[in-house]
Amino acid sequence: MLKTKVDISYLKKLAREMRKKILIMTHEVNSGHPGGSMSLVEIMLSLYFYKIKYDTTNPLWDERDRVIISKGHATPVVYLTLAKAGFFDENDLMKGFRRFGSVFQGHVYTGVPGIEFNTGSLGQGLSAGIGIALSSRYKKKDFNVYVILGDGEIQEGSIWEAAMFASHHKIDNLCAIIDYNKIQENGFVNEILSIEPLKDRWESFGWNYIEIDGHNFEQIFEALDAFTSSKGQGKPTVIVANTIKGKGVSFMEYNHTYHGRALNKEELEKALQELEGEK
């Protein structure tokens, strides 16, 4: 059962609108990473509209939950979610994204209210998340740390250094969420370098393992609640969210070329039409 009532139909509406904006904002600067942003929409919305504690008037409130975006290229969806949550004006984002003189840097940047940690080189966020999670012990504060990882990203060895450390030190206020959209820059993750079997790997590293449909709000909410209920057991949690890269636009889905490429005008019109028709 869900702890709080959230209007899922409203979130679905937001999700559709954000997908359009992801495509528009990347199109306008002819750069950015639309594919892996489209796959994260429901996960980001669930964190900020269902699960985590934060105060937009005081982004550094010490009781807040911390979200680390380890796949730092997912700025379109991340910045849009923060705007929807009220950290800043969405118009500023749409005008400034990836442009000279703006805080809305190409990869997540702490100059943007709500961003906790600069990333952009894959494989660093989980270690940072561990350090932040450990700080709660010294501060005697009860906050949670969420780290958003890409699926290809866990090919980085440092992720497994961090995975070992987190379970060894019983860091149970840490939740890694893997955006398992199956695609990395040059093709299918499991054809380039298989990350499977994910369940066996994470469980053998001492983590709670939860696997869900990362586009289904109910499943995401339940997984996030299962994480917080597991606190006290001394185990970190990983949520593997099965998602679709480029979700919502037929020609983008499962197509690796849209990992780091914006749509051209023609593609954009077609994509927006598709998203408009989506129920």
Binding site: A128, I132, L134
Partner: protein
């Protein structure tokens, strides 16, 4: 006072600081015995982590804790800390500008018998190039204590280079460490020898030898390498007209390169450089290796003479052209 490794000064001072400041948290990638961060571990086990042999994760966790207001020290050998964790140092520490102190021992060829893989000769170059990073190298055990205290109380990323080999004690308890300032350890007029770490002692010995030939050398301890003391370098170029930089580091992109770049636009004077010349280290006894790589006082003496010849011929050229 008997010679002591600078790592000892670091390890001892960190314990004193641990009593004074609860925000200090110390990390090691399984080398706390060698780097002397184990002194802290023994006193404050709840604020110490041996992360295992995983330097990247160590630096990343330290950055995360620093973000939350803690002062984190990461300790290892210079080769492992700077090379293996480089990308984490670049992004998680420097780009974020978090309060992480990288303290690495076993720098330079004076590591000795372990040979090339353990002898860090690139660390100054790759640390100094990073925005927000400041680079320091204590000249002896006493200065190591003072620098450890300074970097603890000064916000932001620091790289401190420490030694395994005992260094002669050439400062006193009452000397002050001033960040960003070089110190004249011997005054002179004919040339200036600038160095950091163990080679400062060798430079002083060389200067004593030069005195016997009637040559007076100014010798500077440049324990702040980034930002180095530009004012003092400029003053030395103006007053002595010749600069020799001696460093236990690769010749490319060390302090010598930085000073040459600076002087080339402000006050070009004849310069010479003594450093490791684009080769890896080898096994041997520390002093044997200093001699092998020309970092000992005899070679500093010889190169000083060569530099003075260039200085003289330069000034006679100038006269002839007038």
């Amino acid at each position: 006072m008997q010679p002591k490794p600078t790592r000892d000064g670091f390890g001892e001072e960190l314990v004193s600081l641990g009593y004074e400041n609860e925000k200090i948290i110390v990390f090691s990638a399984d080398l706390e015995d060698s780097v002397r961060s184990e002194y802290f571990k023994f006193k404050f086990p709840e604020r110490f982590y041996n992360v295992g042999i995983a330097e990247q994760n160590m630096v990343g966790i330290a950055a995360g804790l620093a973000k939350e207001g803690f002062i984190t020290f990461v300790t290892s050998f210079a080769v492992f800390l700077t090379n293996r964790a480089y990308d984490f140092i670049r992004i998680s520490v420097c780009y974020n500008n978090f309060n992480v102190k990288l303290c690495a021992s076993h720098a330079g060829v004076t590591v000795g018998e372990d040979g090339a893989t353990a002898q860090s000769l690139e660390d100054i170059a790759i640390m100094a190039v990073l925005p927000n990073m400041r680079v320091v190298c204590p000249v002896d055990y006493l200065e190591a204590k003072k620098i450890t205290r300074f970097i603890t109380n000064e916000y932001g990323p620091f790289y401190m280079r420490l030694s395994r080999a005992p260094y002669p004690i050439i400062t006193s308890e009452t000397d002050k460490f001033e960040f960003g300032k070089g110190k004249i350890f011997m005054e002179g007029e004919d040339l200036t020898i600038i160095s950091y770490g163990i080679t400062v002692s060798e430079s002083l010995k060389a200067a004593e030898e030069l005195k016997k030939d009637g040559i007076s050398a100014r010798v500077i301890n440049m324990s702040t390498i980034k930002p180095f003391d530009e004012q003092l370098v400029l003053d030395s170029a103006e007053k002595t007209g010749a600069i020799l930089v001696v460093e236990e580091h690769e010749i490319t992109n060390g302090l010598g390169s930085m000073i040459a770049r600076f002087l080339s636009t402000k006050k070009p004077v004849p310069m010479e450089f003594i450093a490791v010349n684009d080769v890896f280290g080898v096994s041997g006894k520390p002093y044997e290796l200093l001699e092998h790589f020309g970092l000992d006082y005899k070679n500093i003496y010889n190169v000083s003479k060569k530099l003075l010849k260039r200085k003289k011929s330069n000034s006679s050229h100038k006269k002839n052209n007038q």
